[in-house]
Symmetry: C2
Subunit: 336 residues, 2 copies
């Protein structure tokens, strides 16, 4: 490949006009016809900024439905906004397409993206489209707002705080295993419904944006669980310079995960250390726990108490049924 000069000519313009301009409903997107987007931040608010992306063959399977790839990459970023207590404002999209990308793929991608932009109130503001000799990749930069000074950090957990987590943990990790090893569904005694639940949780995150305001109101610290509960909680502990004791039996599991775990107890490690949960882990001062639970109940998102912060050097300890700490072969997933 010899470098050419930068792209931006008529081919890109046509793709953008056909598939992405209909999504650019925010006035600051300027119909994707200018060089930049412009937004007026809500008065008295801070802007929360996040960028995260996916690469075909690394973060998703090349034959995953394009609409779900679009939703996944947007939701990965929305999940971070939720954990920081932020309300979505919009996003920029950078997409690198192999030359053989079918227009039907792009049409489905744009449709999925538009559905989620609408659903989460997070409009497309602008972007960048390129051709690549490599795998298809998509990067999203998402913007959210919080009242000034109220972004929820990882680093403010205090000894005595209750550790809570939203939803259920481990479904996506099991879903990915099923994706690679279809026979596992039989070994794990999974009905078709339970199998679909796990596969779906891997394909399509359910970010917890509906409880972002409650996290902001009541949590001392929070982050989204994307690289595995054990590893992410350890990051929160290190940032907060405090330790956590987690009762593994209280980590909330779906019916599907419970069924699989009953058949194959060693799956506990995959459940606690696998990634792609897109739940929120938060620490809450005990006197605010009731208020958080009440607020969460109104949103339909389960919030489960799983342990406590204590003074310590930043360790996250998962206690097994016998009261002894679990040992993990690989506490957190890394591509590196």
């Amino acid at each position: 490949m010899a470098p050419n000069q930068r792209s931006g000519g008529s081919g890109e313009d046509q793709l953008i006009a056909r598939y992405f301009r209909p999504l650019a409903k925010h006035p600051g997107a300027l119909g994707l016809t200018d060089d930049a987007a412009v937004i007026t931040p809500p008065p008295g608010c801070d802007l929360v900024l996040k960028t995260d992306g996916v690469i075909s063959g690394v973060h998703f399977f090349p034959d995953d439905p394009a609409a779900l790839v679009a939703k996944k990459v947007l939701r990965m970023n929305l999940s971070d906004l939720a954990a920081k207590g932020a309300t979505p404002l919009g996003f920029l999209l950078a997409i690198a397409l192999p030359r053989d990308t079918a227009e039907t793929w792009l049409a489905a991608f744009a449709q999925g993206l538009g559905e989620d932009a609408e659903h989460y109130g997070c409009p497309l503001l602008g972007g960048d489209t390129d051709r690549t000799p490599g795998p298809l990749s998509v990067s999203v930069t998402a913007f959210g707002s919080v009242p000034e000074g109220t972004m929820v950090l990882r680093s403010r957990a205090k000894p005595g705080d209750v550790v809570v987590v939203t939803g259920t943990i481990g479904d996506a990790a099991l879903g990915l295993r099923l994706r690679r090893d279809r026979a596992a569904a039989d070994r794990w005694n999974l009905s078709a419904d339970l199998r679909h639940h796990l596969l779906d949780r891997y394909l399509l995150p359910q970010p917890r944006n509906v409880i972002a305001a409650s996290i902001r109101a009541f949590a001392s610290a929070a982050m989204d669980v994307s690289d595995g509960l054990a590893g992410d909680l350890a990051k929160l502990c290190r940032a907060s310079r405090a330790s956590a004791d987690i009762d593994s039996a209280r980590v909330p599991l779906s019916g599907a995960a419970r069924t699989a775990l009953a058949a194959e107890p060693t799956l506990m490690e995959a459940i606690l250390t696998g990634g792609d949960d897109y739940e929120i882990i938060a620490t809450v001062p005990p006197d605010r726990l009731q208020a958080l639970e009440t607020a969460a109940a109104g949103t339909g998102v389960a919030v489960s108490e799983i342990g406590r912060m204590r003074a310590g050097e930043g360790e996250a300890t998962f206690l097994g049924a016998d009261g002894n700490p679990l040992a993990f072969a690989q506490p957190s997933f890394s591509h590196f």
Copy 2:
């Protein structure tokens, strides 16, 4: 490649800590230890948002110095902020690295990036690092601010406005030709100095951020020239629903470009339609031209009058020495 779960583990953490954390001097970057960055927008200001990136082998040569790749991708985005009249606030970085990327490459990349972040007052706020089976790619999302409602658009040029351009046009296009065909330097009668000038203009854009405030104060419309003067001006004309008549002889050329053009007059098309200029094209009401020129003179950036807007359907016409329009084989560069 089988997808794994998302990255973010210890390998990425170590890379970030070693090479990028030292660049994250803005308090809102939180030392790159949280999930998101946070900025407090200046009161009464709009936020200008831009994302643009480069892929190895597409937008730069794999053996280009890493520090210059870093500077180029940041400057591409800074150039857009300048053309929109915006003051840089900071940027997010998304980088996808092949597994065999040398740490020395990354160290040089981070050093170049840090130098420019400092020089342009545009600090690193956060980012995303991934491994890729494809070519190395870097995407920047840059943020700037303008007083509310004052972002300079493409779409506000009016018949009668003067068309101006900063700096010199065509150097990068000629520099790229030299990069591919070293023998051209002799055909074009270029001394070593002139050859270096052109090669350097391709490798390292000089975004015109020092005149951003003047553009905002005096221009009716503006955009940066990144896909070739002819094509970009045509975009501005279409967005403004007006046409432009440009006197090709008045398009400002460097001594190097003039020398090459004298030896090979057909280079005029490459000069006017090649990309990577990273200059600003602006339209200015005649009664503000003097004020813009005075303001620009104080910054050291040349501003040259090259034509006029007129009523029309959005054509950009480049008139040759004989008064007839030039015809271009390919008015604007596109990878598509």
